[in-house]
């Protein structure tokens, strides 16, 4: 027993039978730049129980991993401590190294010298070294107490649940369906298609959005492996990867989709008119409606909030008028429970509502509209049949201004860049120029973000060929001439360094993308975390962009962050392949962090029974029994068990106590 002296604590570490190998990573300069690795190396050698110390520039690299493999092969060590970056980053990597050499992967502890030490104490090198010594000592103390564990194998249901029927959900559903997996695609609105269905053209290829989307919508509806659930919501998710028990609740449409031919005879007789959500309230729709002609499933839906045929029974004209007798007013809500092996979240986005930014006058000046409203006007099947009109007088505007970054890159709204506004603004500008070559089109921007394939050329063409004028400067204010509703756009042209004022007939706000309004509900169902902007957070920004920290749950599309359609589809294919690889294996290994209960100690006090959110413990002949499959390893029952009868694998009391003693204690 010898003294391991640090200012933090004097600690006589008892001699330990285990032979711990400690591998210190420089991480290039990320660690070595702050922590004196040589000093740490010599200090670590002094720790009893340590039989081998190595340090290397990149432990996660192949040569780094080889150092560990060699030490294991030569039988020098039976425990491994890697002092490098966060375990949440490379613990899986190093566990594989151990199992490749036939050593139980759970005999590994990772000391977080990077994120918790060198990166956050860059200017206090001596203190960082002290802390590194303590963190290594704590890891060695814990390593000595680690026990071999075998992960639990669980069968994976070959069914995927996809939440959100936009382009992201559709493409994932098709990929998985084609790969032979059963899919439940759940969409809350009456039709799949999402926001893409509202678009006219898509950049940079100027394809017509409906042409590339509707075939996908139809094939997803007809795909033998895909169970489409539109006008439906996921209301409960229990269980774990491979065995999610999901409850889906379908709202009543009051129209039988099989019988309805979408002939539309019911529409004229319906007395109720409400603003059309699909057309962003530019036009009206009846209480019985189909969002847009190519909606899938192609059936009408009765909106029970506004229809007066339900509660109380007064109207019901549409019922009489309907030829195929598809309308059925006493249809009720249906709930079904399915087992899903994997879940993909593709909930898409909600456009930013700029009305709280008075300086632009949206909602006050009729001729200030948002880009999505513009998109609906440009669309041939839109409310204006493709004509660009000024809402105030329905005239064709001669001078148009696009205002970029509304609600984006703005501390008061969202600090992030929504990535697609520059491109869709330019796209709309070119479309207007095609229709009215003589029109004056100005784009007020901070920076043009044209980063994608063909984007730069698209931008060049917009400026040179279509004559769109680009003015670098965020618009300070939009003023209106009340009589004519003409608008005056005031900004500062930062290139020329002088203010600029332009009279225009129409102003279009390029609004930001925000998380879908049901993101909170989906998050509480799946327990996946969200970033500061509210989008779902991926397991690792670089290496696991579509995974989440909850095994078996994937995210893709704008639900994970603003992006355009190509990136969305790429991510949804990524998520589909992630889910397919899980379901393909048919089994998945679960972290063996579950609990075990010692029957000789458990005295049936029942403290744990009601405590477990997963009902993983039940009473059999007076003592508690653990259901390993249900247990997720949180350990709340372990610390609550007054008899000390429950043990948490990999986070046992001994292991945690040894770390505490090593951190602050004496002997």
């Amino acid at each position: 027993m010898e003294l391991a002296q640090t200012a933090f604590s004097t600690c006589r570490v008892m001699a330990m039978p285990e032979r711990v190998g400690v591998f210190i990573c420089h991480c290039g300069l990320n660690i070595a730049g702050v922590i004196d690795v040589k000093e740490l190396h010599t200090y670590t050698q002094m720790l009893s129980g340590v039989s081998l110390v190595e340090d290397y520039s990149y432990m996660c690299s192949e040569p780094g991993q080889e150092l560990i493999r060699k030490a294991i092969r030569e039988g020098k060590i039976n425990r491994v401590v890697v002092a490098a970056c966060s375990p949440r980053m490379h613990e899986p990597t190093f566990r594989n190294v151990l199992s490749q050499e036939g050593m139980n992967p759970y005999l590994l502890d990772v000391a977080n010298l990077r994120e918790h030490d060198s990166w956050v104490h860059m200017f206090e090198k001596d203190k960082a070294l002290e802390k590194a010594k303590d963190l290594v000592r704590m890891a060695v103390a814990r390593a000595a107490k680690l026990e071999a564990l075998t992960p639990r194998e669980v069968s994976v249901e070959r069914t995927a649940l996809i939440i959100g029927g936009g382009i992201a959900g559709i493409s994932a559903a098709l990929d998985l369906g084609d790969a032979g997996y059963k899919v439940y695609l759940v969409e809350s609105s009456p039709t799949v298609g999402g926001h893409m269905a509202q678009l006219d053209k898509t950049f940079p290829t100027m394809d017509c959005s409906a042409c590339i989307l509707t075939p996908k919508m139809v094939s997803v509806a007809r795909h033998p492996n895909v169970n489409l659930r539109t006008y439906a919501e996921v209301v409960d998710v229990q269980g774990y990867v491979g065995n999610f028990r999901v409850k889906i609740r379908s709202k009543p449409r009051y129209v039988d989709a099989k019988k309805c031919t979408a002939c539309g005879d019911c529409v004229p007789v319906c007395p109720i008119e409400v603003p059309s959500e699909f057309d962003v309230e530019l036009t009206w729709r009846k209480a019985i409606y189909i969002p847009f002609p190519q909606a899938v499933p192609t059936t009408y839906t009765i909106d029970d909030k506004s229809c007066i045929g339900l509660k109380p029974l007064t109207c019901r004209q549409c019922e009489d008028k309907c030829g195929p007798k598809a309308i059925n007013f006493n249809e009720s809500e249906r709930e079904e429970e399915i087992i899903a092996g994997t879940i993909i979240v593709a909930t898409g986005y909600r456009p930013y509502n700029p009305s709280k930014e008075e300086q632009y006058g949206y909602g006050v000046y009729p001729n200030v509209i948002t880009a999505i409203e513009m998109e609906r006007m440009l669309n041939a099947s839109g409310p204006t049949g493709g004509k660009v009109l000024r809402p105030s007088d329905m005239q064709e505007p001669g001078r148009i201004a696009f205002l970029h970054c509304i609600g984006s890159r703005d501390e008061r709204a969202n600090s992030y860049c929504s990535r697609i506004c520059c491109m869709y603004s330019m796209k709309q500008a070119r479309q207007i120029k095609e229709k009215h070559p003589e029109a004056e089109v100005h784009e007020f921007f901070i920076d043009i973000r044209a980063y994608g394939k063909g984007f730069e050329e698209f931008y060049e063409k917009a400026a040179r060929e279509y004559g769109v004028t680009f003015i670098r400067g965020k618009v300070a204010e939009v003023m209106e001439e009340p009589a004519t509703h003409d608008l005056l756009v005031r900004a500062e042209d930062t290139m020329l360094g002088r203010p600029v004022e332009i009279e225009t007939d129409l102003v279009i706000l390029s609004t930001a993308l925000q998380p879908h309004e049901q993101t909170d509900q989906v998050q509480s169902l799946l327990r996946i975390s969200r970033g500061p902007e509210g989008f779902f957070s991926e397991a690792h920004p670089k290496l696991r962009p579509v995974d989440t920290l909850v095994d078996g749950v994937f995210i893709c599309g704008v639900a994970q962050g603003p992006k355009d359609i190509p990136d969305t589809v790429a991510q949804s294919k990524g998520a589909a392949s992630g889910a397919a690889s899980l379901m393909g294996q048919g089994k998945v290994t679960i972290e063996p962090y579950f609990i075990s209960i010692d029957e000789d100690v458990c005295s049936g006090c029942k403290v744990c029974i009601d405590l477990c959110p997963y009902q993983a413990i039940h009473i059999e002949q007076k003592t508690a029994k653990a259901n390993e499959a249900q247990c997720k390893g949180c350990g709340v029952c372990v610390s609550s068990c007054p008899a000390g009868a429950i043990k948490a694998n990999h986070f046992t009391d001994d292991q945690l106590m040894s770390q505490i003693v090593a951190a602050v204690g004496g002997a």
Binding site: G604, C605, L611, V636, S640, P642, G644
Partner: protein, 298 residues
Amino acid sequence: MKVVFESLSGCAGCEIAVLDLHEGLLDLLKRVELTYAPIILDPRTFDRSEIGIITGSVRTDEDVEKVKALREKCTTLVTLGSCSCFGGVPGLANLFSPESIVKQSHEVNVAPGSKIVEKKDIPRLEHWIVPVDDLVNIEAKIPGCPPPPKFIAEQLSTLLNGGSQRLSKKTVCDECDLQKEIKRIDKIRRWGEGKTDFSKCLLEQGYICLGIATRAGCESRCIKAGTPCRGCFGPAEKVKDAGAKLISAIASTASLDSPEAMNPQQLAESFIDVVGTAYRFTLASSIIRKKASEGAAN
């Protein structure tokens, strides 16, 4: 087999518990050669003995000497009763700074007019009470306040046969036959508050009962008589600090969503005298054994 009894600063309850074997005591006396037990035998010292049984808490410097002397003179040392095992009720004195206790006895609580006299040639007080196994190694513990006579007889006969001691690994709940339904406590109640249903678990009715975190062995005698357990048998086999485990269990079974559920502040306020209840017999052997001087005003 030579046996000796030494009592430190205790109440002699453990000795009486041995005598409460009544006729059983006679068979015990036949099997052992009791050479020193000042409470019932006259010899004033002894030189060696196989088994040394210690009762009472280590309160004075003389107690410390006795413990050390016993360690030298006995091969097997046994702590009998909660005082020698865990510090017992006298251990609650650790709640007060040593100065305040001495001051209380020699200056504050003194009749007016009687002169303060320096105490000499009587034992000085140790600063705080510690369990015996803090001073010397011991071979066996017989917990309880007092340990039930039948329990003492069983434990002693195992030791007399040279066997190693086996205390129960269970908690009092195992021996308590009150009906247990669901641990979801809406309100913590003081003992005597409201009507008590003696067929159902007392903790589930909101009464603090240490039975859940206390070692079994007493056949829940207090609960059977209608009083919540106060943990005299000390922490269960696998538990280091019974008070901390009780706090953990109470906090975890406080109901969260029922209408009259307590919020954390209310929970803390309604658990009266946390230390005096959760650590009544084990304060001196708990993790935080004594009042930290930073807050020890009185």
